[in-house]
Amino acid sequence: MNHNSEPGHEVKLNFFTKYVFSQDHKMIGIQFLFSGLIFFGIGGLLALMVRLQLAWPDGNIPYLGKWFPVSWGGKMSPEFYTMLFTMHASIMIFFVIIPWLTGAFGNFVIPLMIGAGDMAFPKLNMLSYWVMWPAFITIMASFFVDGGAASSGWTAYPTLSNVGADAGIQKTELKSNDIKSNEPNSTYSIFKEDSFNSPSSPGAGMGQIFWLVSLFLVGIGSMMGSVNYITTILNMRAPGMTLLRMPLTVWSLFITAILQALALPVLTVALMLQLLDKLIATTFFLPPGGLSFGNWHTSPGGGQPLLWQHLFWFYSHPAVYIMILPAMGVVSDIISTFSRKPMFGYKPMVFSMSAIAALGFIVWGHHMFQSGMDPRLGTGFMLATILIAVPSAIKTFNWLATLWGSSIHYTTAMLNALGFVSMFVIGGLSGIFMAATPVDVYFHDTYFIVAHIHYVLFMSSIFGIFAGITYWFPKMFGRLMNETIGKTHFALTFIFGNLTFFPMHILGIGGHPRRYYDPTIYQYLENLQPLNQFMTITAFLLGLTQLLFVFNIFYSVWFGPKAGKNPWNSNTLEWDTPSPPPHGNFLSTPIVSRGPYEYAIEGNLDHLTQSSPPLEDIK
């Protein structure tokens, strides 16, 4: 037993051991929260620049155009644009949503909710955060390297991403051949054979190497975290806290940790293989015949570009559930608390989350229906994918049934949780279109996918995160967040978010491909352009709205009203200790005698906390 789990144990801490190199899970959670907040801002700004280009591809941007550097000619270059959306997605996924859900919530709430003094491995926990810092620095530094940051999409498909200069040679004798027009090198004058530059695109050089290293580090950090969560949940639950008495948040984080522990090694290996392709000219993802970019040729490879897609999606599809399951758990707890009603089906919720996670491992091929994978495999992947809608439907109906006959208190946390439910329905239903193979032929890589991913990751996961932050803020800082600002922020985010992302479905139905620098050169996309401009304006309003949230956090840390031990009259164990909890969390180890959702008890009782003695003893 480590010293941290001893309740009430006095530990002398200085500034560094308390706030910086902290081994306290609560401080590590808060560290993840704030670093995620910084990257949320950076990722958001990148998205807004993407939107600017899409709305006014000719560069005549109202008001803002004159602020662009003169050297850009008042507009951005296509290579810069591809870098923007690549880094937007990479940062939002790997530095915001996953760290917020598993890093911030996972660290902060798991020990508190299961009645443990700390994580099983506090030092490993500290390391899982501090390994993120080299990743932060690498990803930020990549913006300033030769050729700019990574620009091969967040999926980094070879051979766009993996070909380095040392993988081939420039054959001058071919110059007289018919390959004259449109030479890639002409747009890319800094290409040198003896450097890490890539002939495929500027960002696929040093920027891609930095990107790979950074994600590699993030992966290591997440693996450390997941091992820690699994061990903690399995071994450190308070007496009486059986697995089926755990709050759904803990269940969701537990399942997520298992997903991470099983899927992340695959991504980590894939990243390393691509890094070797780039650094020492291995050919894991180069085809046997080699490639030619203009008059520059690679040596023959021995690998397969498709291998990367299989490895990448074998991680990244479970990662989609890593990015939504914890939000589902958080939302379930919040809905039960503020509707003052037990969760309708606790066990179906646990089983459906497990089913989503299990099915999540056999559906990765649905990202690859058009990739050149054997189309017969497509049918199997389609059927497995479509089945995931069943547990998702079970969850949605259970949330709705929880609301039936309840007594809803409209706090900011509850509103964000209800926003999650509403938006998850849209994100879930739009997924069925892409699961269906013939329909996906048309929708693949169009804005329909962009709409889907933003309904799942922004409109759902981020609402879940807003809900969770508002809900546990009093436990983190001992003060409540401002409800007026919080509700305004929710309403505006809900409105502007839908105005920004819903029309993307329509763009997709119109056949608008994603990742286009200038869609207006296509005649069939011409009359979709007003929608693009509309979405850009609302995206800026959506971005501005987020300042309210940031302000609310910093304002409330210092000036929010003091929160008591249990401001929401909630049942779970974290509300059974002072806000913020002391080092070691609980003054005495709680003893659990019931499940987490005992609301609306018969008689005069409103709720029964998990640690209060059995009902017979109270009577």
């Binding site: 049918t379 279109f433 169009t446």
Partner: protein, 302 residues
């Protein structure tokens, strides 16, 4: 006052439905279909749209109504309900049945699009052997254009060898795909550098070109959009909006520039007339004019 939140949810979801309702009228909808299997794809799209639309309306109305109806009131306590097995069974079985139907409904069309031969052990009777192509074309993607190669005879003796190596008599074009109405066109899709994706919205067709592989693609246009004028040696487009080719897989900075056009001639004879003149034009471009080309009036500066 608190109940107003349900109105916000209802309003936002109603406007979402509204956008879908006005989109076709605004021209923000599926492009005109010209593929033989396109009607099947569109039908499957509408089946899913109806099914998801139904569940969208049911769940969002329930959410808004519950938010309105069950707002906290003084002295009203929530019901203590811990699940209901029958309901759980119902909302597992009904979506399951609908989803399995949706899933199996896709299989014949997918098989048709992707050359799969299927036995009749599913409720499916599709036989891919019927696909004897009328025309072979090789499409090579590169940064950032499509290079089309047409065989001298519509069906080469050994199509796969031809797709791999080519022939001296082939016609080479950039970003221009020619076929004729009702022709079964077999595309051999290649790339010389990165992954591209051959996307023709009007044909409901999309296929990635994979480095090191030759991907099989086929389509059959059911409408024509071009007429070859043998007197002026020019193509006359029959409708104002072209059927475009796009790239759908990120292939570098100029990804968006891989725009091509599909020309569907009215008949095989029309196509062959255009082909004969085009191959002459190509020969002329590579070598001095011959009696043959001069007689055909090709290569004479206008």
């Amino acid at each position: 006052m608190q109940r107003c939140w349900s109105l916000l949810f209802a309003a936002v979801n109603l406007s979402a439905i509204g956008l879908f309702a006005i989109a076709p009228a605004m021209g923000w909808w599926l492009p005109h279909n010209i593929a033989s299997y396109g009607a099947d794809v569109d039908r499957l799209f509408y089946i899913i749209l109806i099914a998801t639309g139904f569940f969208f309306v049911v769940t969002q109305s329930a959410l808004s109504y519950f938010m309105f109806r069950f707002c906290a009131q003084e002295g009203v306590k929530a019901k203590n309900i811990h699940g209901h097995f029958g309901l759980e069974l119902l909302w597992t079985a009904v979506p399951f049945a609908i989803l399995v139907y949706i899933g199996f409904a896709q299989i014949p069309t997918w098989a048709k699009m992707k050359y799969i031969e299927i036995e009749t052990w599913f409720p499916i009777t599709y036989n891919g052997k019927n696909l004897d192509p009328d025309l072979h074309i090789t499409v090579l993607g590169r940064q950032w254009e499509w290079r089309m190669r047409y065989p001298q005879k519509n069906i080469p003796a050994d199509p796969l060898a031809w797709a791999d190596l080519g022939n001296l008599q082939d016609l080479h074009l950039v970003n221009e795909l020619h076929a004729w109405k009702d022709a079964k066109v077999r595309i051999h899709l290649k790339t010389q550098d990165v992954i591209h994706s051959f996307f023709l919205p009007n044909l409901r067709l999309k296929q990635d070109a994979l480095p090191g592989k030759i991907m099989p693609v086929w389509f059959q246009p059911i409408e024509a959009n071009v007429r070859y004028n043998t007197n002026t040696k020019t193509l006359e487009e029959l409708n104002s909006s072209p059927w475009e080719i796009a790239c759908a897989e990120l292939c570098g900075g100029r990804h968006y520039r891989m725009r091509g056009k599909l020309f569907v001639h009215e008949s095989k004879q029309d196509y062959e007339r255009w082909f004969a003149d085009s191959i002459l034009k190509q020969r002329l471009h590579n070598s001095p004019p011959t009696q043959e080309t001069l007689a055909a009036g090709i290569g004479v500066r206008q």
